[in-house]
Amino acid sequence: MTALTQRTIDVIRKNEGSLLANWTANLDATGVSRDARVSLTEIEAQTREFMRLLASNARAGDTSISGNDWSETRTFLERLSRSRALQGLDSQSTASFIFSLKRPLFDLLQAEYASEPADLAPQVWAVSELLDALGMHTIRTFQKSREEVIARQQEELLELSTPVVKLWDGVLALPMIGTLDSQRTQVVMESLLQRIVETGAEIAIIDITGVPTVDTLVAQHLLKTVTAIRLMGADAIISGVRPQIAQTIVHLGIDLQGIVTKANLAGALELALKRTGFAVSKAN
């Protein structure tokens, strides 16, 4: 097991300023600091903070970063990769933040140990191991933060399930959005039926403007829902049938005869109002 010597740590501490300058130059060369999502001042603050932590936390004879000495550095890196994950940066740019410090450090060691090449190799190895460990730590945290983001988005998608809205007395509308052939559809349709019972609505409009594809499974869901709505004594209107969807339904051979369909929601509402005995007129 190779370990950092006091001499290496001293030379790092002594050259903090030049290391920082070289590191920033290196970050710039690899394009890490040119990403618009991370401001230059932010990167400068981060590099300065990391250099300070590295110089003060490094102990002779120690390359493991799991100890107490490194807890401050670990917290800093966790915060860094978390903020980058949230900003939507990839793991590569996050990891290269640490890895681009390698060259300046190696150059420094090379100059320091120029006359003792036998001592150089173990020290380069030790520094490399240390930076690898720190880099891996950022990637691990990055991954974890990303997974948290994905988990949150999945929950948000479930929350997104379309609401049943009341358009008028006795008229409900269900604006469907996205994929209509999932489990979610079943849930949404059931909630529509439930709302019909609760409100005693006479007409339910299912709007499929936001549904990109209507295939046989989607049609089957729609047909079943319309049948269920009728069994409950209400009427159903399907609106938002765009020209390309209409042509596709014809070719598929789906029989929608007996189901009232409209090209848009406005047409459906107009019909619904007429059926419930309302007339809309312009006020003078």
Partner: protein
């Protein structure tokens, strides 16, 4: 073939539709033809999952003279179709669907071919020209 993607679970049907949408736009198909091809692909991809137990969708751009087209192949190693004539009958289904998937898909595209060997698998090839 220009590309391929697996179709193993229900969610893959959605991904297959998105891929076909992207390819159809790239191919220069009109909106109506895009929608027809996507719908046909949706039917066949779902068949691959439900009846074939999962498989793949391959695609390639084809050219003939001045016209361009998109060819899609849906293949699985499932139980296969025992009675092809019955399978190509409107309204017949071995599952719980409307029984219009295969025949409907055929009507939505310009070229359609169905090969199936019981115990070996099924392969459906469709093509839409612009």
């Amino acid at each position: 073939m220009d590309g391929s993607q697996p179709i193993s679970i229900e969610q893959d049907v959605v991904l297959a539709r998105q891929t076909v949408r992207r390819l159809a736009i790239e191919c220069g198909l009109r909106l109506v033809d895009q929608t027809k091809l996507i719908t046909a692909a949706s039917e066949l991809a779902r068949n691959t999952v439900i009846y074939g137990g999962g498989g793949h969708m391959d695609w390639e751009f084809v050219e003939e003279g001045t016209r361009r087209g998109l060819r899609l192949v849906f293949r699985d190693e499932g139980p296969g179709i025992a009675d092809m004539k019955l399978a190509m009958t409107d309204g017949w289904t071995s599952g719980g669907g409307l029984g219009l998937g295969l025949t409907g898909a055929k009507r939505l595209v310009d070229e359609f071919s169905l090969e199936s060997t019981p115990g070996v698998g099924t392969r459906v090839t469709i093509c839409k020209w612009n």
